[in-house]
Symmetry: D2
Subunit: 339 residues, 4 copies
Amino acid sequence: MIVAMQEKASEEQIQAVIERLVELGFEVHRSTGKLQTVLGAVGARVDFDIRDLEVMDGVKEVHRISSPYKLVARSFRPEGTTVKLRNGVSIGGQDVVVMAGPCSVESREQLFTIAEIVSKAGARILRGGAFKPRTSPYSFQGLGEEGLKLLKEAGEKFGLLVISEVMEISQIPLMEPYVDIYQVGARNMQNFNLLRELGKARKPVMLKRGIAATIEEMLLSAEYMMAGGNYELILCERGIRTFETYTRNTLDISAIPIVHKLSHLPITADPSHGTGRRDKVSPMARAAVAAGADAVIVEVHHQPDKALSDGAQSLFPEQFSKLMDELRMIAPAVGRKIA
Amino acid sequence: MIVAMQEKASEEQIQAVIERLVELGFEVHRSTGKLQTVLGAVGARVDFDIRDLEVMDGVKEVHRISSPYKLVARSFRPEGTTVKLRNGVSIGGQDVVVMAGPCSVESREQLFTIAEIVSKAGARILRGGAFKPRTSPYSFQGLGEEGLKLLKEAGEKFGLLVISEVMEISQIPLMEPYVDIYQVGARNMQNFNLLRELGKARKPVMLKRGIAATIEEMLLSAEYMMAGGNYELILCERGIRTFETYTRNTLDISAIPIVHKLSHLPITADPSHGTGRRDKVSPMARAAVAAGADAVIVEVHHQPDKALSDGAQSLFPEQFSKLMDELRMIAPAVGRKIA
Amino acid sequence: MIVAMQEKASEEQIQAVIERLVELGFEVHRSTGKLQTVLGAVGARVDFDIRDLEVMDGVKEVHRISSPYKLVARSFRPEGTTVKLRNGVSIGGQDVVVMAGPCSVESREQLFTIAEIVSKAGARILRGGAFKPRTSPYSFQGLGEEGLKLLKEAGEKFGLLVISEVMEISQIPLMEPYVDIYQVGARNMQNFNLLRELGKARKPVMLKRGIAATIEEMLLSAEYMMAGGNYELILCERGIRTFETYTRNTLDISAIPIVHKLSHLPITADPSHGTGRRDKVSPMARAAVAAGADAVIVEVHHQPDKALSDGAQSLFPEQFSKLMDELRMIAPAVGRKIA
Amino acid sequence: MIVAMQEKASEEQIQAVIERLVELGFEVHRSTGKLQTVLGAVGARVDFDIRDLEVMDGVKEVHRISSPYKLVARSFRPEGTTVKLRNGVSIGGQDVVVMAGPCSVESREQLFTIAEIVSKAGARILRGGAFKPRTSPYSFQGLGEEGLKLLKEAGEKFGLLVISEVMEISQIPLMEPYVDIYQVGARNMQNFNLLRELGKARKPVMLKRGIAATIEEMLLSAEYMMAGGNYELILCERGIRTFETYTRNTLDISAIPIVHKLSHLPITADPSHGTGRRDKVSPMARAAVAAGADAVIVEVHHQPDKALSDGAQSLFPEQFSKLMDELRMIAPAVGRKIA
């Protein structure tokens, strides 16, 4: 940590800061310049709140030098993490993996129809929500465990792995027999109680970026799970809130190369939630793969206008097939292929 | 709802939209102009996803005319809501109420010292966190039920009511005997499972705005609780995330007059979390009262540099006393007084 | 325009709004429902400030139905605009055009070296700034007209067209003999005096989106120039300001498909300014082409660490060649090719 | 400047960074720790682009320690700047100054009517725009020099000083005989050509914060003018662009205490542009004064519904009088009074 004192800081103020740092367990190096004194502090707590120094008298600025995260940092595994799943599917390797399916599991017929479509088109993982707490108490709330069973059955029938969202600690053991990947939604990115339990889980987790979360904060949430023992993590960019109102959120494609630089973890893009509008999903899925995404997750529905949730952002089957063809052309440009 | 068709929309496209609206239970009024056709749709579901129409062929724009909320709207209770509490304290009436206390309850000595200070200075409600899930598993996690007991004891001793944050459904019954107001934090503003249970609670709830939530979204979360039966609600502005990095968040003071216009519910401001820096807390608390806030909630600590959390944003006792004096001078300018 | 009255609006309030609308030249259609009255207003001024109605008593919401822009709207030219330039280069047609060059023209040697590199790699248009007003009065301020001359010369020698930024009205005639496209920078997107003069110019203009401008506002600025008579316009996404601090700006790739839907004008992406960091430029350039961009503009420098401005975001020559190869592979996925 | 190397940075990479720093004129202090090497660089150019180091191999983070501004820093004039004007009016002293008037000067009758109203109510400075470049070429474009003459005349008649917006360099000498303060609008905050000329002007300048500008960027623009020789500067917060759509912009009240901490320059708030809606102007003006603003600037119109621009955000005369009474009550709470 670097503490830059104000130009007119008194010796007394400087000493007070030094004492505080020593008290906190830091080793302090003082560098007194013509204009100002700068203190370097090494060696102590990662979870230190730097504002505690910022508000001290005579302090101008405080910078954290060491990363607030260690385990998720690229330097921890320079070669990158490949999350290996069943059926020869892995995320973070040479294949770009496509996850597809409906927003919600609505019925056996709906799910099996869509699973067949996405499997034939080349998806490797089936997505679908089983728990859907909604703004209106009158809206469809998801099929719960029945939905999870259908996901597993459909996955087996059509050769697809399964990903589904977990929203509460109590759902972790319930979902365990049915899913290959737990998905943590954007609203739960900083639900540390949930993350703590998922850190103990023995299945991979895909963590979505919160709509107001910086990339660093997403990495910190992943660090929390890794510190708990779960190293099989996948990150997911799904759009941030900006002043632009035409799209629901602004899908931050630049998060993809940034995550690849800062961390060894693979990163997925979700253009369906990231744009909220069907006609923007394919362009943004293509952009994500071109920018280096390790996977994309896309909503597909055979009858989007009858979907019980998020129909407006679900692709029609023929749009999805066309997108798969386009992605197959783009992947080689980044040295990848579509699984 | 108003659906504006594109200028070149075909009659077939227009009919498809009309059919869709009728299917959804709307009564449709068609107005065919020289340039474009506009459809007015009245009478159906509040929870309708307008994007389902936006993505139809030939549709240009869709506007919701009726509010997505009813119960929290100003028109529901034009005279405004006053949340009546014990000890003659009420929020939303003529008094501006000050809630104060430490970020976390750390010990009996700490809490009683601070409670005495804030009570003498004129606060009416004691704040303090009992559950503190933190980024680092090594950080202080709160005293739990023991903290709640201390809050109640300190409140009784110094004539203060108690507010504390609830983070999980399971904590609702646990907290019930100890607190006067349940606080819902910014990260849980859209935790609909939690809101559903608080809708059934028989105690007032203070709902904080999420850092990426619009004012309308905060009102919708309050609507969710009111629909569940809890009419004793208080809103709280605590800062939104913007591009400005000097402060942790940007406290949106304009939310105060806006909420007063749109809703009958009282609104509080939290300048401690809204700015994250001690030296900005008093100016922003003054600004909130001048803008018409019904209450302010402020962090105070007798030894902020020893606080186990958020010390950097806690006022020193003498700063708090000075702030109370300033608020007493400002309140009459808006026809109020400090309780 | 649609004016939705409040549910409790009085007849008097409704009449006042109707009178106001009529006074403004609108034809008013009244629709009185069980709960509320809605007024449809057709036919008058495009430049009307809807807030004038919003603040009237009894008014709940006002929505503009007709677009605030006409000439730039997709419906004005459903087939799309192709801006035809010299040398068989055109933007908005089947070719994806690459513009490349240094941030600033620094010297003949520098410019000619870079022009040769980018020309050989496949760029068709040479970029380079001649006017560089800088934060520090001691920094390099650009070569002025001398820089423009060098651009033209280098362009002729290496078969490249020329684009350069115009910052003041007085520079328009000065630049006229030297450039093929005038570039309007993000800070001038709403400099209406400058736009007015460029509307009269007889050369194409590339208009960059302001860092705090919505897509609609960018279209309105283009409308302003088209209304002045210049139909040869190209838009450019170059990043918006968000809360994310890792990149200078967030390049909004979704603006590309959105502009293509709303407008007939071609759109370019500028990943150099959009990210501000060399290592993010290539991924974002690839993403832009995959999302359907009609052109990309990229900063290249043979000695970026000696560049007088923006060296940190300039590609090395070999990075640029590699990027061109990647773009050649991606373009066919969107039915295009690199010129 | 502090350059933190990556943990695995090679000695070669470290040497390259050191050489680069020396080349740039810095004096370098190396501190080699167990985990990483940190380089401190002192003494060179203020206008250095730190990204040039960030993109070097082996570099993890670069922090500027010295402020990018000097002259506007609080330490340059710890006692604060008071801008002294005619008639005993000064900004930054004990009086809180109110500037008021119409958005645009529309006619002698309009301006004189409003000037009389605001003067009687206690304003000390008359505001009014003479140049109004507007989105629509058919809209009112301002009265130009005629408007300036009217401002001066009205000011003399009613004992008011005059502030008006300057938009182009050519307007500076034109306005010189008529105004007491040049106003630089939000869109021109980084128009460095204009700022350079105003740095040479012999009249005070009020600089408005751009809607996407950080507080530091506003200070840098002020630094630019001070470096040019003009020390009579006033800053102005007028709202930033955020995701909240209910108000046009979010008036960042916290900028007021932040500017007071970082700089010696006085700061004004503009709640009219900051909110864009009449009913939010008075609450936000009160909030600004309560937070410590040195002045407020407010739009007032005797017939806002007939105003040629921004009528929706103009106060009625009686609202303005009431606001002045409220401000008179609030000012003493911050040790000030209304002039």
